[in-house]
Amino acid sequence: MALTLISTPLNITTSDTAVTSVDITSGIDGTYQSYEFHCVNMYPETNNVNFCFQVNAATGSNTAGFDQVITSSSARAYLKEDGTGGTLGYDANSDHHQEVSLQRILSTGTGDDADQSVSGILRLYAPSSTTYVKHFLAEGNGADHGDYTVNSWTAGYINTTEAIDEITFKFDSGDIEAGTIKMFGVS
Protein backbone atom coordinates (compact mmCIF):
# COMPACT_ATOMS: atom_id res chain seq x y z
CA MET A 1 0.00 0.00 0.00
CA ALA A 2 1.21 3.45 -0.83
CA LEU A 3 -0.20 6.65 0.55
CA THR A 4 0.14 9.72 -1.63
CA LEU A 5 -0.37 13.09 -0.02
CA ILE A 6 -2.85 14.99 -2.16
CA SER A 7 -3.38 18.10 -0.08
CA THR A 8 -3.44 19.60 3.40
CA PRO A 9 -6.75 21.42 3.46
CA LEU A 10 -6.43 22.46 7.09
CA ASN A 11 -3.40 23.37 9.17
CA ILE A 12 -4.26 25.96 11.79
CA THR A 13 -3.12 26.39 15.36
CA THR A 14 -4.94 29.39 16.79
CA SER A 15 -8.47 30.65 17.12
CA ASP A 16 -7.45 33.70 15.07
CA THR A 17 -7.76 31.51 12.01
CA ALA A 18 -10.77 29.46 13.10
CA VAL A 19 -13.01 28.06 10.40
CA THR A 20 -16.61 26.92 10.48
CA SER A 21 -15.91 24.02 8.17
CA VAL A 22 -13.25 22.51 5.94
CA ASP A 23 -14.72 22.03 2.48
CA ILE A 24 -12.64 19.93 0.09
CA THR A 25 -13.93 20.55 -3.40
CA SER A 26 -11.12 19.23 -5.57
CA GLY A 27 -8.91 16.18 -5.72
CA ILE A 28 -11.59 13.57 -5.04
CA ASP A 29 -12.06 11.72 -8.30
CA GLY A 30 -11.20 8.46 -10.00
CA THR A 31 -7.44 8.83 -9.60
CA TYR A 32 -7.47 6.60 -6.50
CA GLN A 33 -9.78 3.79 -5.47
CA SER A 34 -9.75 4.94 -1.88
CA TYR A 35 -8.98 8.11 0.01
CA GLU A 36 -7.86 8.72 3.57
CA PHE A 37 -8.46 11.86 5.58
CA HIS A 38 -6.12 12.10 8.57
CA CYS A 39 -7.48 14.52 11.14
CA VAL A 40 -5.08 15.45 13.95
CA ASN A 41 -5.91 17.41 17.08
CA MET A 42 -9.15 18.89 15.86
CA TYR A 43 -9.89 21.45 18.54
CA PRO A 44 -13.41 22.86 18.94
CA GLU A 45 -14.49 26.37 19.81
CA THR A 46 -17.46 24.94 21.71
CA ASN A 47 -17.54 22.45 24.55
CA ASN A 48 -19.21 19.05 24.16
CA VAL A 49 -19.42 18.84 20.39
CA ASN A 50 -19.03 16.12 17.77
CA PHE A 51 -16.64 16.06 14.84
CA CYS A 52 -18.49 15.21 11.62
CA PHE A 53 -18.40 14.94 7.85
CA GLN A 54 -20.83 15.10 4.96
CA VAL A 55 -20.35 14.85 1.20
CA ASN A 56 -21.64 16.29 -2.03
CA ALA A 57 -22.02 15.02 -5.58
CA ALA A 58 -21.24 18.31 -7.25
CA THR A 59 -21.62 16.87 -10.72
CA GLY A 60 -24.76 14.90 -9.87
CA SER A 61 -28.43 15.68 -9.64
CA ASN A 62 -28.37 16.86 -6.03
CA THR A 63 -25.91 19.71 -5.97
CA ALA A 64 -27.56 21.74 -3.25
CA GLY A 65 -24.85 21.07 -0.71
CA PHE A 66 -23.39 18.58 1.68
CA ASP A 67 -26.52 16.57 2.26
CA GLN A 68 -26.15 13.09 0.83
CA VAL A 69 -28.14 10.17 2.23
CA ILE A 70 -26.08 8.08 4.66
CA THR A 71 -26.75 4.80 6.41
CA SER A 72 -24.23 3.95 9.09
CA SER A 73 -23.42 2.26 12.37
CA SER A 74 -21.25 3.45 15.23
CA ALA A 75 -19.73 1.89 18.32
CA ARG A 76 -17.54 3.38 20.97
CA ALA A 77 -15.51 2.51 24.02
CA TYR A 78 -14.97 5.03 26.78
CA LEU A 79 -13.38 5.37 30.19
CA LYS A 80 -13.15 8.25 32.64
CA GLU A 81 -9.72 9.47 33.64
CA ASP A 82 -10.39 8.32 37.21
CA GLY A 83 -10.62 4.76 35.89
CA THR A 84 -14.39 4.37 36.21
CA GLY A 85 -17.07 3.73 33.66
CA GLY A 86 -15.19 1.56 31.19
CA THR A 87 -17.82 0.67 28.60
CA LEU A 88 -18.12 -0.72 25.08
CA GLY A 89 -21.39 -0.26 23.27
CA TYR A 90 -23.36 0.77 20.24
CA ASP A 91 -23.84 4.52 19.87
CA ALA A 92 -27.35 5.09 18.57
CA ASN A 93 -26.84 8.85 18.67
CA SER A 94 -24.13 8.62 16.03
CA ASP A 95 -25.68 6.29 13.47
CA HIS A 96 -27.72 7.22 10.39
CA HIS A 97 -30.55 5.48 8.58
CA GLN A 98 -31.01 7.18 5.25
CA GLU A 99 -30.31 10.54 6.84
CA VAL A 100 -28.74 13.62 5.30
CA SER A 101 -27.44 15.29 8.44
CA LEU A 102 -23.79 15.47 9.50
CA GLN A 103 -22.22 12.06 10.18
CA ARG A 104 -20.36 11.96 13.49
CA ILE A 105 -16.94 10.32 13.37
CA LEU A 106 -13.81 9.64 15.46
CA SER A 107 -15.25 10.46 18.91
CA THR A 108 -18.15 12.11 20.69
CA GLY A 109 -18.66 14.95 23.15
CA THR A 110 -15.24 16.47 22.59
CA GLY A 111 -14.27 19.05 25.18
CA ASP A 112 -12.79 22.49 24.70
CA ASP A 113 -10.24 22.43 27.52
CA ALA A 114 -6.91 23.71 26.23
CA ASP A 115 -5.44 20.21 25.94
CA GLN A 116 -8.51 18.41 24.57
CA SER A 117 -9.07 17.48 20.95
CA VAL A 118 -10.01 14.61 18.64
CA SER A 119 -7.83 12.72 16.15
CA GLY A 120 -8.38 9.88 13.69
CA ILE A 121 -8.79 8.69 10.13
CA LEU A 122 -11.73 8.57 7.72
CA ARG A 123 -11.38 6.14 4.80
CA LEU A 124 -13.65 6.64 1.79
CA TYR A 125 -13.83 3.92 -0.84
CA ALA A 126 -14.31 4.48 -4.57
CA PRO A 127 -16.09 7.83 -4.29
CA SER A 128 -16.15 8.24 -8.05
CA SER A 129 -18.09 5.04 -8.68
CA THR A 130 -21.29 5.55 -10.61
CA THR A 131 -22.39 1.97 -9.91
CA TYR A 132 -22.09 1.40 -6.19
CA VAL A 133 -22.95 3.10 -2.93
CA LYS A 134 -19.85 4.63 -1.29
CA HIS A 135 -18.53 2.81 1.76
CA PHE A 136 -16.59 4.54 4.50
CA LEU A 137 -14.79 3.56 7.70
CA ALA A 138 -13.69 5.93 10.46
CA GLU A 139 -11.70 5.31 13.62
CA GLY A 140 -10.42 7.79 16.14
CA ASN A 141 -10.07 8.93 19.70
CA GLY A 142 -11.10 12.04 21.52
CA ALA A 143 -10.93 13.74 24.88
CA ASP A 144 -14.50 14.07 26.07
CA HIS A 145 -15.72 17.19 27.91
CA GLY A 146 -16.29 15.09 31.04
CA ASP A 147 -12.68 13.86 31.02
CA TYR A 148 -13.38 10.56 29.30
CA THR A 149 -11.27 8.99 26.60
CA VAL A 150 -13.69 8.06 23.81
CA ASN A 151 -12.72 5.70 21.00
CA SER A 152 -15.27 5.60 18.17
CA TRP A 153 -15.62 3.24 15.22
CA THR A 154 -18.07 4.35 12.58
CA ALA A 155 -18.83 2.83 9.20
CA GLY A 156 -21.51 2.96 6.59
CA TYR A 157 -22.28 4.00 3.08
CA ILE A 158 -23.36 7.06 1.20
CA ASN A 159 -26.43 5.74 -0.51
CA THR A 160 -25.98 7.20 -3.94
CA THR A 161 -24.66 5.90 -7.23
CA GLU A 162 -23.61 9.37 -8.28
CA ALA A 163 -19.93 10.24 -8.01
CA ILE A 164 -18.95 11.91 -4.74
CA ASP A 165 -16.38 14.64 -5.36
CA GLU A 166 -16.68 17.00 -2.40
CA ILE A 167 -16.49 16.51 1.35
CA THR A 168 -16.86 18.78 4.35
CA PHE A 169 -15.59 18.40 7.91
CA LYS A 170 -16.91 20.41 10.84
CA PHE A 171 -18.06 20.24 14.41
CA ASP A 172 -21.81 20.03 14.84
CA SER A 173 -21.65 23.30 16.78
CA GLY A 174 -19.10 26.11 16.71
CA ASP A 175 -15.88 26.52 14.80
CA ILE A 176 -12.76 24.44 14.33
CA GLU A 177 -10.17 26.53 16.17
CA ALA A 178 -7.16 24.32 15.47
CA GLY A 179 -6.17 21.12 13.76
CA THR A 180 -4.65 19.50 10.73
CA ILE A 181 -6.40 17.56 7.98
CA LYS A 182 -4.40 15.77 5.31
CA MET A 183 -5.94 14.03 2.33
CA PHE A 184 -4.19 10.98 0.92
CA GLY A 185 -4.83 8.76 -2.07
CA VAL A 186 -4.30 5.06 -1.55
CA SER A 187 -2.82 2.86 -4.24
Binding site: A2, N41, L88, D115, G142, T149, K182
Partner: protein, 188 residues
Protein backbone atom coordinates in the same frame (compact mmCIF):
# COMPACT_ATOMS: atom_id res chain seq x y z
CA UNK B 1 5.13 8.43 -0.65
CA UNK B 2 3.46 9.68 2.47
CA UNK B 3 4.20 6.65 4.61
CA UNK B 4 7.91 7.13 5.28
CA UNK B 5 9.93 4.31 6.74
CA UNK B 6 12.04 5.44 9.72
CA UNK B 7 13.49 2.38 11.39
CA UNK B 8 13.05 -1.34 12.01
CA UNK B 9 13.98 -3.04 15.25
CA UNK B 10 14.21 -6.78 15.58
CA UNK B 11 14.02 -8.59 18.88
CA UNK B 12 17.43 -10.16 18.52
CA UNK B 13 18.64 -11.93 21.63
CA UNK B 14 15.25 -11.88 23.33
CA UNK B 15 15.41 -8.35 24.73
CA UNK B 16 13.31 -7.23 27.67
CA UNK B 17 12.35 -4.07 25.78
CA UNK B 18 12.59 -2.41 22.39
CA UNK B 19 12.85 1.37 22.44
CA UNK B 20 12.63 4.11 19.85
CA UNK B 21 14.23 7.34 21.08
CA UNK B 22 14.28 10.50 19.02
CA UNK B 23 17.78 11.35 17.88
CA UNK B 24 19.18 7.93 18.73
CA UNK B 25 20.02 5.17 16.25
CA UNK B 26 18.47 7.05 13.32
CA UNK B 27 15.11 7.39 15.04
CA UNK B 28 13.02 10.45 14.22
CA UNK B 29 10.22 10.92 16.75
CA UNK B 30 9.51 14.63 16.83
CA UNK B 31 7.53 17.22 14.88
CA UNK B 32 8.89 16.01 11.55
CA UNK B 33 5.63 14.09 11.20
CA UNK B 34 2.21 14.78 12.63
CA UNK B 35 1.48 11.07 12.91
CA UNK B 36 3.60 7.98 13.56
CA UNK B 37 2.81 4.32 12.99
CA UNK B 38 4.45 1.29 14.57
CA UNK B 39 3.84 -1.98 12.73
CA UNK B 40 4.33 -5.13 14.79
CA UNK B 41 5.10 -8.36 13.03
CA UNK B 42 5.03 -11.63 14.93
CA UNK B 43 5.90 -10.39 18.39
CA UNK B 44 6.53 -13.66 20.18
CA UNK B 45 6.44 -13.73 23.95
CA UNK B 46 9.21 -15.32 25.96
CA UNK B 47 6.78 -16.11 28.78
CA UNK B 48 3.36 -17.62 28.55
CA UNK B 49 0.32 -15.59 29.53
CA UNK B 50 2.03 -12.21 29.12
CA UNK B 51 0.79 -8.93 27.66
CA UNK B 52 2.52 -6.86 24.96
CA UNK B 53 2.37 -3.11 25.29
CA UNK B 54 4.03 0.29 25.29
CA UNK B 55 4.86 3.27 27.47
CA UNK B 56 6.51 6.61 26.73
CA UNK B 57 8.79 9.24 28.17
CA UNK B 58 8.04 12.90 27.65
CA UNK B 59 10.63 15.61 27.26
CA UNK B 60 9.90 16.37 30.90
CA UNK B 61 11.44 13.01 31.80
CA UNK B 62 14.18 12.33 29.23
CA UNK B 63 15.74 8.92 29.64
CA UNK B 64 13.25 8.16 32.37
CA UNK B 65 11.78 4.88 33.42
CA UNK B 66 8.72 4.95 31.17
CA UNK B 67 6.57 5.26 34.25
CA UNK B 68 5.48 8.88 34.62
CA UNK B 69 3.27 9.61 31.61
CA UNK B 70 -0.36 9.08 32.52
CA UNK B 71 -2.49 7.18 30.05
CA UNK B 72 -6.28 7.03 29.82
CA UNK B 73 -7.37 4.26 27.50
CA UNK B 74 -10.04 1.79 26.47
CA UNK B 75 -9.55 -1.82 25.42
CA UNK B 76 -12.00 -4.12 23.72
CA UNK B 77 -11.65 -7.35 21.82
CA UNK B 78 -13.34 -9.92 19.68
CA UNK B 79 -12.38 -13.55 20.12
CA UNK B 80 -13.08 -17.03 18.86
CA UNK B 81 -11.40 -20.29 19.74
CA UNK B 82 -9.80 -22.70 17.33
CA UNK B 83 -12.36 -25.22 18.53
CA UNK B 84 -15.17 -23.04 17.26
CA UNK B 85 -16.50 -21.98 20.62
CA UNK B 86 -16.50 -18.73 22.53
CA UNK B 87 -17.13 -16.31 19.73
CA UNK B 88 -17.73 -13.01 21.49
CA UNK B 89 -16.77 -9.38 21.83
CA UNK B 90 -16.49 -7.18 24.86
CA UNK B 91 -14.72 -4.58 26.93
CA UNK B 92 -11.69 -5.71 28.92
CA UNK B 93 -11.41 -3.72 32.11
CA UNK B 94 -8.12 -5.24 33.19
CA UNK B 95 -6.38 -3.78 30.15
CA UNK B 96 -7.63 -0.19 30.25
CA UNK B 97 -6.07 2.64 32.24
CA UNK B 98 -7.55 5.69 33.96
CA UNK B 99 -4.60 8.07 34.16
CA UNK B 100 -2.40 5.07 34.88
CA UNK B 101 1.33 4.93 34.28
CA UNK B 102 1.68 1.21 33.62
CA UNK B 103 2.56 -0.48 30.36
CA UNK B 104 -0.39 0.08 28.02
CA UNK B 105 -1.47 -3.34 26.85
CA UNK B 106 -2.15 -4.09 23.22
CA UNK B 107 -2.60 -7.78 23.99
CA UNK B 108 -3.02 -9.84 27.13
CA UNK B 109 -2.55 -13.47 28.11
CA UNK B 110 -0.55 -14.07 24.98
CA UNK B 111 0.24 -17.68 24.07
CA UNK B 112 3.92 -18.55 23.54
CA UNK B 113 3.77 -21.69 21.43
CA UNK B 114 6.35 -21.64 18.67
CA UNK B 115 3.88 -20.61 15.98
CA UNK B 116 1.96 -18.00 17.99
CA UNK B 117 2.57 -14.27 18.18
CA UNK B 118 1.05 -10.78 18.05
CA UNK B 119 0.83 -8.56 14.96
CA UNK B 120 -0.78 -5.17 14.58
CA UNK B 121 -0.41 -1.41 14.21
CA UNK B 122 -0.18 1.44 16.72
CA UNK B 123 -0.82 5.00 15.53
CA UNK B 124 0.20 7.97 17.67
CA UNK B 125 -0.98 11.43 16.70
CA UNK B 126 1.13 14.56 17.07
CA UNK B 127 3.48 13.32 19.80
CA UNK B 128 5.46 16.56 19.70
CA UNK B 129 2.50 18.75 20.59
CA UNK B 130 3.05 20.93 23.61
CA UNK B 131 -0.63 21.84 23.71
CA UNK B 132 -2.72 18.70 23.47
CA UNK B 133 -2.90 15.26 25.02
CA UNK B 134 -1.54 12.63 22.62
CA UNK B 135 -4.19 10.40 21.07
CA UNK B 136 -3.38 6.87 19.99
CA UNK B 137 -5.25 4.02 18.32
CA UNK B 138 -3.99 0.43 18.10
CA UNK B 139 -5.40 -2.76 16.69
CA UNK B 140 -3.93 -6.19 16.48
CA UNK B 141 -4.46 -9.89 16.56
CA UNK B 142 -2.76 -12.67 18.47
CA UNK B 143 -3.27 -16.11 19.96
CA UNK B 144 -4.71 -16.02 23.43
CA UNK B 145 -3.27 -18.60 25.78
CA UNK B 146 -6.58 -20.07 26.84
CA UNK B 147 -7.80 -22.72 24.39
CA UNK B 148 -6.02 -21.07 21.48
CA UNK B 149 -8.29 -18.15 20.83
CA UNK B 150 -7.83 -15.77 17.93
CA UNK B 151 -8.06 -12.48 19.76
CA UNK B 152 -8.57 -9.20 17.91
CA UNK B 153 -7.83 -6.17 20.07
CA UNK B 154 -8.87 -2.53 19.71
CA UNK B 155 -7.05 -0.17 22.01
CA UNK B 156 -7.24 3.62 22.05
CA UNK B 157 -6.80 6.55 24.35
CA UNK B 158 -4.52 9.44 25.10
CA UNK B 159 -1.28 10.09 26.88
CA UNK B 160 -2.48 12.75 29.29
CA UNK B 161 0.61 14.90 29.03
CA UNK B 162 1.12 18.23 27.28
CA UNK B 163 4.88 17.80 27.18
CA UNK B 164 6.14 16.45 23.84
CA UNK B 165 6.63 12.69 23.69
CA UNK B 166 9.89 11.65 22.04
CA UNK B 167 10.67 8.23 23.53
CA UNK B 168 8.60 5.06 23.32
CA UNK B 169 9.32 1.60 24.65
CA UNK B 170 7.69 -1.74 23.88
CA UNK B 171 7.77 -4.68 26.25
CA UNK B 172 5.93 -7.68 27.61
CA UNK B 173 4.51 -7.17 31.09
CA UNK B 174 6.26 -10.38 32.09
CA UNK B 175 9.39 -11.88 30.60
CA UNK B 176 11.15 -10.91 27.41
CA UNK B 177 10.24 -10.37 23.78
CA UNK B 178 11.44 -13.65 22.35
CA UNK B 179 11.34 -12.55 18.72
CA UNK B 180 9.57 -10.21 16.33
CA UNK B 181 10.04 -7.01 14.38
CA UNK B 182 8.75 -3.48 14.84
CA UNK B 183 8.74 -1.09 11.89
CA UNK B 184 8.38 2.64 12.57
CA UNK B 185 6.91 5.02 9.98
CA UNK B 186 6.14 8.69 9.75
CA UNK B 187 2.93 9.76 8.03
CA UNK B 188 2.65 13.05 6.25
Amino acid sequence: MALTFIKSATAAGSPATISFVDGSSDVVFDNTYNEYQFHFVNIHAGTDNAAFGFQVNSTNDPGGGYDTSQISSTFFKAEHSEGGSGGSSGYHTASDQGNGVALQRMSYSQQMDDDEAFSGVLTIYAPSSSTYVKHFVAKGNYVHHSSHYSQNTYVAGYINDTYPIDEIRFAMDSGNIDSGTIHMYGVG
